[in-house]
Symmetry: C2
Subunit: 226 residues, 2 copies
């Protein structure tokens, strides 16, 4: 997956270590989230709860089923220095030095976007800054836009500017996309225009509450009045 598209899908909260930077690896934390763990050489009984490593390489991937993006970080163990309490150097996040006119826009799907009538309300800023411009002399202004998902699969949508008052909509093609990606209200769609003007669409699933997770403790707690 193209790193620029990957970052747009993952969102601004997802920070990755720079390649060749130093990171701490906590096997316990890894085990709590992952289903598989690397093989540790057997033998010595006690192992320290964390290792100093170097991020040797980062791979950008997307689940072929759900389109969810994830990164695979190859770790290179380093000798652990004597422990000091000095603060860790901050991890610099990877940012492309030059966007070259690339743009991304994310929208949380409303019930109308996800369920009803098969249409998608395009926020004006998204239509203006990402989609190709419409011929506003036509009535109504309409075009087909060609968008790739993270796997490179091409989807085409009918983009129309209509209604009173006027608004941008995606109509034909949208419901097929929603069904294929199993999107529901609350999920997000990310539209990306890369530096060559190519359009991409990524998705960001709403965090489905997970039974037993910490949020369960607060589900029934009183809320502050608005």
């Amino acid at each position: 997956v193209d790193p620029q598209v990957w970052h747009a899908c993952a969102g601004p909260a997802a920070k990755l270590p720079a390649v060749r930077s130093a990171v701490w690896y906590f096997p316990q934390g890894h085990a709590e989230q992952a289903s598989s763990l690397p093989d540790f050489p057997a033998g010595s009984g006690w192992r320290p709860p964390f290792f100093l490593c170097r991020a040797a390489a980062i791979g950008f991937h997307a689940d072929p089923e759900t389109d969810e993006v994830f990164a695979r970080i190859l770790l290179d163990p380093r000798p652990t220095p004597p422990l000091s309490l000095s603060p860790e150097p901050p991890l610099s996040s990877v940012e492309g030095p030059d966007d070259g006119g690339a743009m991304a826009f994310a929208k949380v799907l409303t019930p109308s976007d996800a369920n009803n009538g098969g249409g998608f309300s395009v926020p004006r800023f998204c239509a203006d800054s990402i989609f190709p411009p419409l011929d506003m002399t036509a009535d109504p202004p309409v075009q087909n836009v060609t968008i790739r998902d993270v796997h490179g699969k091409v989807w085409t949508f009918r983009h129309i500017y209509r209604g009173t008052p006027r608004r941008h909509l995606l109509t034909t093609g949208w419901s097929k996309f929603v069904n294929a990606k199993k999107l529901i209200a609350g999920d997000s769609v990310v539209f990306i225009k890369n530096r060559h003007g190519l359009l991409y669409a990524g998705i960001r699933r709403a965090s489905r509450p997970c039974a037993g997770g910490p949020q369960d403790y607060f589900r029934h707690a009183p809320q502050a009045a608005p």
Copy 2:
């Protein structure tokens, strides 16, 4: 899976050894068809190309995805006797000693059964000998029949006797069954009434030609004139 239902689905060509009978096991033949092989104890280099075994137990199964039936035979190795050229004793096939009024009927799906309008033409013999009798005084005679698949899941079909000339049809419920089982023209459906009068439906997939299989050698061979 009930052995009687299993045999009706597998068809008369599928013969199984009787439990506790002697069988020859050919690992090479097994390897050519199966993706996994039993673990042989490592060590000795040469092994004979076949073993004498005893069929210790037979399990009747059905693929939860495709409904295709298969048998799992537990083999018990026996000491191989000195090879003689006397013919093997014929393997007796397992047949229930008493059908107790059980019946089975298989039909190859026509294009109309599989594709069009969601209906299934029930051959008269099948309707007469397997389905519950219709009230022929009604106009048209109609009933709902309740049928289980090999996993025990219940399906209901509308069974009607109508048209000119009159014929038996399954209408409502049939297309859902076709879609769920991914049936296409050429596949077979087996209707089974067991000794208690319960109805079952099994499926037998048409043999899809398999690339590289022996039939490829004959695909383009000249055919005899009819």
